[in-house]
Amino acid sequence: MKQFRKLVTPYCLWLFLLTVVPMLLIVFYAFTEKGTAITTFSFTLENFTKFLDPIFVSVLFRSLKLGLLTTGVCFLVGYPIAYMIAKCKDTTQTILILLITIPTWINLLMRTYSWISILSNNGLLNKLFEAIGMNSVNMLYTDFAVIIGMVYNFLPFMILPIHASLTNMDKSLLEASQDLGASPIQTFFKITFRLSLSGVLTGITLVFLPSISAFVIPKMLGGGQYSLIGNFIEQQFITIGNWHFGSAVSLILAVFVIGLMALIFMAEKRTNNSVEEEEGGWLSNAKRKKVR
């Protein structure tokens, strides 16, 4: 085995070049401003103080709002779906889970374009409305379209971990609960939901974090007026060309995300602690499932 160890070196090198160096560059850009010559940079905090402008802050909050809304809708739609799938026969479950996973293999742009053709003024939905004698509704480039696109895109990441935690649950606990006099509804809230919380938290993490910084979907379905933190960063880098300010905003967002992740991690640890050591969150559950 030992002679293979050297083979790891190029991998580490690439890892360093492709992930660590860009990160360091972002930190570097964020704390500097351009000097007169190309090679002279000077240290500054101005990029951060500039962001405190209410206009920019409101962009951040709008992003958080969209993230929360997306996560909320994903949960409300995803939990019942995951629950119903978990109730099916094993073979049916495999098929349904596959059906939910397949769209994520298709390019994000293509998926979002198809929503444009569904929601646009002479799109599929409006054609349908006309056919049944209703007025056409302006849906594209509204909040509604953005939410639809976001939820459609992130829903699988809510369903899969919840489904995993539901199928890993010991079914005899549900029987025990009913045996002790709890109706099916009481059993759901006191046992099923409580024990699927770790899956729910994983789902929230997987949906909320990327949806704060999403910018492709809001841009395509929400139109140009829809300025979010993701769009904002993209603009700074590509349209305006202010890499320093762009990097600073990226860093602020990253710190925000890390903070939120820490919160969720702590919450998950608390539920897991009280749900016995053996239930180690979604990842270890999924692993255990594979082994079986």
Partner: protein
């Protein structure tokens, strides 16, 4: 005693496979009834139908004379101790036990009082705040029993509750369970495939095989008067001998006629005869009933297991006397040691 549960012609099929073949069973108030049988004979299925977790394909479950076949589990006055305990992992011991009482919306002070009382009964009064994962197997077991008992059900179903415990703890828990049952005075329906456990604990034993009841009776009945070869074999080791029922109080086997205490079979009927190993005595040649030679001796802790070869077969004898291999001996027994059974297919 009053009948509490009646199973009438209970039948269960799983995808065309018949696992219960028309069970008839009366369970009385305060009875400790044990379902005993080999793996896969349908004990758990019977219990699950009584508990409401499985629906019978045909037949009825009567509770206090009322058909409860369609009643969901949470509306039945029956509680279960599950084979693998099924304790709620997100609650501590106290909350697990209080679960049923909270559902019934009892006052908190009454709940606390009842939980403490039941915890004391199972010897875990200081464990209320413990987490389930911090308990040993035997303690979890007792929490499972307490959680079911605290609801004061009329019937408690127990599915091999001691299966996961080591021998010593199992013996201790057997005594404890039996005491609890007497003290609280409720009906236990207990499942096990351990015949010794069944014999020590039960008022009534139901021996099952292959989805059908073989015999219902007290432990003594079942042990001493097995109704067929299966029961005789399943309850302890036995010498089972094919013979003829000559007439009342007289049987013939191994080419001789013996006086017995059984009657009521047809004259000349072929029967199976059980001779328990501990009922056979090894005596000097000429003083017993059947001649033979000792072919092997095994020390079993309390007694010796001795094989005596006769001209017809090999008999197993349990005795504390010391003997030697190769010795010519006689086998002796009393008329009441001969148990005559209806001959049924060979198992």
């Amino acid at each position: 005693m009053k009948k509490l549960i009646e199973l009438e012609n209970l039948t269960k099929e799983f995808n065309g496979q018949v696992v219960l073949k028309g069970i008839h069973l009366d369970i009385h108030e305060n009875e400790f009834m044990t379902l005993l049988g080999p793996s896969g004979c349908g004990k758990t299925t019977t219990l699950r139908i009584i508990g409401g977790f499985e629906e019978a394909s045909a037949g009825e479950v009567l509770f206090d004379g009322i058909d409860i076949s369609k009643l969901p589990p949470h509306k039945r006055e029956i509680n279960t101790v599950f084979q693998k305990y099924a304790l709620f992992p997100h609650m501590n011991v106290h909350d697990n036990i209080a679960f049923g009482l909270k559902i019934k919306k009892m006052d908190k002070s009454i709940i606390d009082q009842k939980v403490l009382k039941i915890l004391t009964l199972v010897g875990l009064e200081n464990y209320g705040n413990r987490h389930i994962s911090q308990l040993s197997g035997g303690q979890q077991q007792r929490v499972a029993i307490a959680r079911a008992l605290v609801n004061e059900p009329k019937v408690l179903l127990l599915d091999e509750p001691l299966g996961a415990l080591d021998l010593k703890l199992r013996k201790a828990m057997q005594v404890e369970l039996k005491n609890i049952q007497k003290e609280v005075g409720i009906t236990f329906i207990y499942v096990t495939h351990d015949q010794e456990e069944a014999l020590t604990m039960s008022d009534t034993i139901v021996v099952m095989n292959d989805g059908a009841i073989q015999q219902i009776g007290t432990p003594t009945d079942i042990y001493n008067e097995p109704e067929n070869r299966f029961v005789a074999k399943f309850i302890g080791e036995s010498n089972i001998v094919e013979g003829l029922f000559v007439k009342d109080f007289l049987v013939e086997f191994d080419g001789q006629q013996f006086v017995c205490v059984d009657k009521g079979f047809d004259e000349g009927q072929e029967v199976d005869i059980v001779l328990r190993p501990e009922d056979l005595d090894i005596v000097e040649v000429g003083q017993g009933k059947i001649e033979g030679v000792i072919s092997s001796i095994l020390f079993k802790g309390v007694h010796y297991e001795i094989m005596v070869e006769t001209s017809e077969r090999t008999y197993t004898v349990h005795t504390t006397d010391i003997n030697e291999i190769g010795k010519k001996v006689n086998l002796d027994f009393w008329p009441e040691d001969i148990h005559v059974m209806e001959k049924m297919g060979t198992y």
